[in-house]
C-alpha cells in the first residue's frame, strides 16, 4: 500500500481541527493573562456531552452546540475559582482536567460503541470535483472551515478592535489596566468562557467526526498539545494553524507508516508527534529574550484589586 499525498493532506486537516479549535480558544485566554491548564478536561467534556446530545437528537449541529456549552460551563468553574476566589491557576487547571476526565467517563457510560449522526461534507459547486485541490481543500465538513474562519476572526479581533486591544492590555499589565478603569476580572471571565467553548467544540469534533464514536479518555492528550501549540505559535493566531496542522500531519503520517508496515516499532511511531512537539518547543524557546517578548507579561499571575 502506498501513501497517497492527497489522502494524507485531507486526513491531516481532519486530525488537526480539534487541536486547532482548542488552541485558538486557549490563545485568547492566555492573551488575557490567564493560564488555563484544563483544556484537556474541557475537551473531553465537550466530546462526551456533544456526543450524547447528537445521538439523542440525531443532529450533529445540536451536538456541537452542546459540546461548546459544556466546555464553557466547565471553564466557568475555573473562572470562579481563579478570578473570584483567587486560587492558583496551575493547580485549578490541573484539577479541572482530572475532574473533566472523570466526569466524562461517568456521563459516557452506556454510550460506547454507538455511531453518531453523520455530518455532511461541504460541496462547493463543482470545486470539490477538482483533482487534488478538490479532496484536499474543498471537500470537508463545515467545522473545518469554521475553525479557520474562527482563527481569522480572533486575529482580526485582537489586532483591529478596541475590545481586542483592551484584552491584550489586561494580559500585559493587569494593574495598569485596572488603574485605567478596565474591568480586569470581567474581561478575563469572558475570555475563559470563550476558551472553554472552543475546547468543548474541539472535543465534540473528536467524538462526532474525527473518530467518530465515544471511548473513555479519547482526547488522549490533545488538550495538552493544544496548550503546547499556543506557546509554539508565540501567541500569534496564524501560527496556531501552522502548529496544529504540523502536529496533525505527523500524527497522520505515523498512522500511515504503521499501516504500510514500516520496520520501526509501533511505540516509536506513536511517540513521534509528541517528540516533534517537544523538539519544536525547545527550538522556539531557545532564544529566551524573544520568547518572553511575545508572552503576555501578566500570564498566570493572580489579579487582586488592592484598592
Amino acid at each position: 500500500m502506498d501513501i497517497s499525498a492527497v489522502a494524507l493532506i485531507a486526513s491531516l486537516i481532519v486530525a488537526a481541527t480539534p487541536i486547532l479549535l482548542a488552541a485558538i480558544g486557549e490563545l485568547v485566554v492566555e492573551k488575557a493573562g490567564v493560564l488555563n491548564l484544563g483544556v484537556e478536561g474541557m475537551m473531553i467534556i465537550g466530546a462526551v456531552v456533544g456526543f450524547i446530545a447528537a445521538v439523542n437528537t440525531q443532529s450533529a449541529f445540536v451536538g456541537f452546540v452542546a459540546g461548546a456549552l459544556a466546555g464553557g460551563a466547565l471553564s466557568f468553574l475555573f473562572a470562579i475559582l481563579t478570578q473570584y476566589l483567587l486560587s492558583n491557576q496551575v493547580a485549578s487547571g490541573l484539577a479541572l482536567t482530572l475532574f473533566g476526565l472523570g466526569l466524562a467517563a461517568l456521563l459516557g457510560h452506556g454510550y460506547t460503541g454507538i455511531k453518531p449522526p453523520a455530518s455532511p461534507k461541504m460541496e462547493f459547486f463543482g470545486l470539490s470535483e477538482l483533482p487534488v485541490l478538490g479532496p484536499t481543500v474543498f471537500h470537508h465538513d463545515l467545522m473545518v472551515y469554521f475553525s479557520i474562519t474562527l482563527v481569522a476572526g480572533v486575529w482580526a479581533f485582537l489586532k483591529f478592535t478596541r475590545a481586542g486591544l483592551v484584552l491584550r492590555a489586561v494580559g500585559e499589565n493587569h494593574d495598569a489596566a485596572h488603574a485605567l478603569g478596565y474591568k480586569v476580572v470581567r474581561i478575563r471571565v469572558a475570555a475563559i468562557l470563550f476558551g472553554g467553548a472552543c475546547a468543548g467544540l474541539g472535543g465534540a469534533y473528536l467524538s462526532l467526526i474525527r473518530v467518530p464514536q465515544w471511548t473513555e479518555g479519547m482526547t488522549a492528550g490533545a488538550g495538552w498539545i493544544a496548550l503546547a501549540i499556543v506557546v509554539f505559535a508565540s501567541w500569534k493566531p496564524w501560527r496556531i494553524i501552522l502548529g496544529a496542522y504540523l502536529f496533525g500531519g505527523v500524527t497522520i503520517l505515523q498512522l500511515n507508516l504503521q499501516a504500510i508496515g514500516v520496520d520501526i516499532p509501533v511505540s516509536y511511531l506513536s511517540m513521534a508527534p509528541y517528540l516533534v512537539t517537544i523538539v519544536v518547543l525547545v527550538i522556539m524557546s531557545a532564544d529566551r529574550a524573544r520568547a518572553s517578548l511575545n508572552a503576555p507579561a501578566s500570564l498566570g499571575r493572580i489579579f487582586h484589586a488592592s484598592n
Binding site: 491584550r168 499589565n173 488603574a179 485605567l180 529566551r288 529574550a289 518572553s292 517578548l293 484598592n307
Partner: protein
Amino acid sequence: MSLISLQNLTKTYPGVIANDAVSFDIDHAEIHALLGENGAGKSTLVKMIYGLVKPDSGTITFQDKPFAPREPRAARKAGVAMVFQHFSLFEALSVAENIALGMEKPPKPAILSDQIREVSVKYGLTLDPERLVGDLSVGERQRVEIIRCLLQEPKLFIMDEPTSVLTPQEVQTLFETLRRLRDEGTSILYISHKLEEIKQLCQRATVLRGGKVVATCTPSAETAKSMAEMMVGTKLTTPQKIKPEFGQPLLRVQNLSVKSADPFGTSLVDINFTLRAGEIMGIAGVAGNGQDELMLALSGEIRTPPASVQIEGGFVGQLGPAKRRQRGLLSAPEERLGHAAAPDMTLTENVLLSAYHRQNLGRRGFIDFARAQIFAQGVIKRFDVRTPSAENSAKSLSGGNLQKFVVGREVMQNPRVFVVNQPTWGVDAAAAAAIRQSLLELAMAGAGVLVISQDLDELMEVSHSFAVLSEGRLSPPRDAEGITVEEIGLLMGGAEIA
C-alpha cells in the same frame, strides 16, 4: 470660585486612617502642591479624586457641582486626568495603543497618530507614536502618560511624583510644559516630596501628615528645610560626611560586559572601576540604563568571566551570590519584596537567607533558630524597624520599614564590600537619613560601599566619588567634591561619556 474643593474627606482602612477630614481647594490655573511623607495619605487622597477609591465620608465640589466619580472613566469624562507614580503603561504595546487605552473614545489609529505628533510638537515632548513602549526610556514613558492626558484637554491634571525618575534637564522640560498648561488655564495638583522643585513651580502647597492637613503655605516664601519640618513634624538633621583616607582596593571591576536577559533591559558595556576601603562610590543614572544588570553582575546572580569582578584581588566573576557573601561582598537589591526579601517568610527566616554563613546561624547543618531570631531582633532594634515581632511576615511590613530591614540585615553582617541599589526608595525622610548614616558609618569602619541610586541629592550627600551609568556604559569615576548637579545631569543624559 475655586475649580475643585474638597470638604472633610475621610477614608479609613483596617487599622489605619488614611485621610482624616481633609479639606482644601485648588483655584483655576493654579499649580498646587500636595506635600507629605510616605504614608501621609497623599495617594489615597488623589485616588479619591480620580475615582479609584470611594471616600467614607466628605464631599468634593468640582466646577461648582458635586463630584463623586464612581470609576476613573467618570473622572476622566469630567475633566480630571492623572499621571501615575508607577506608570500605567503596557510595555509590549505601541505608544499609540497605550494612549488609545487611556481615552474614552479614541479616534481611528491614523488620526490618533497625527494628534499625538501634533501635541508632542506643541508642548516640546518628542515622541514617535509607532514605537513600542518597552523600548522607551523612563522620561519618554512619562511623556506617553502626559500626552495621553493632554489629548483629553483636562481641567485638572494630577501628577504623582513625576520627577523621581527624570534627569535634571528632563525636569526642566517638564516644568516648562506644566507652566504652559497653567497659562492655558489648566490647574495642576502636583504631588512630590522634592521641596526645591515645589518652590520653583507651585503657587500654593497643602501639607499632609498622618492623614491630616497640618499646614498650608506659599512655597516661594518658605525654605526647603521649613517645609520638610512641616512634613515630618520634627527638626531634621542631615548626616555628616567626613572625607576619610582611602585604604586598599576592595572591589575591582574590569572590562565587565553583560548581555541583558530581559528583552527590554540594557546590556552593560565594558564597565571599569575600583572601590577602595572607606570609600562610598555613588552611581547615578536614570532607571533602565543598566542599573539592574550591574546589580545582578555584582551580587553574583549573573555570572561573568572570573577576572571581571575581583574582591581583594581574588577573582569572583564566576562565583554565585553565596560564595561572594562568604568573601565579604553583600548586596541589597532595589526590589524589596520578592527579590531582597521573601514576602511570605518571617523576618527571622529572611535573615537566614542572607546571613546563614556569615553569622553562623547553623549548627551541623540544622538551622539555629534561636540565634537567627536574636540577629533579626538586633536588626529590628538598631534600624528602628516598626514590626510587632521578628516572627511577622516580610510582606506585612510597610515599604519603608522593610527597606530599613533589608539594608540593616546586610549592614549588620559587617560586609567588606556593600552594594546597594536605591537604598532609600520610598522611605520617609527620617528613615532615609538613618539608612544613609549607617552607610557612612560602614565606610568609616573600613568597608567599601557602592550606592546605585537615581536620587541625586542622596548621592551628593553620601558619596566620596561619583560615576554615571548611561545606556549600559559607566563614566570614569571622579571625586564627588565640587561636582554640580548640572554636570551630573549632562552625564546622565549621556551627553559626554569621556
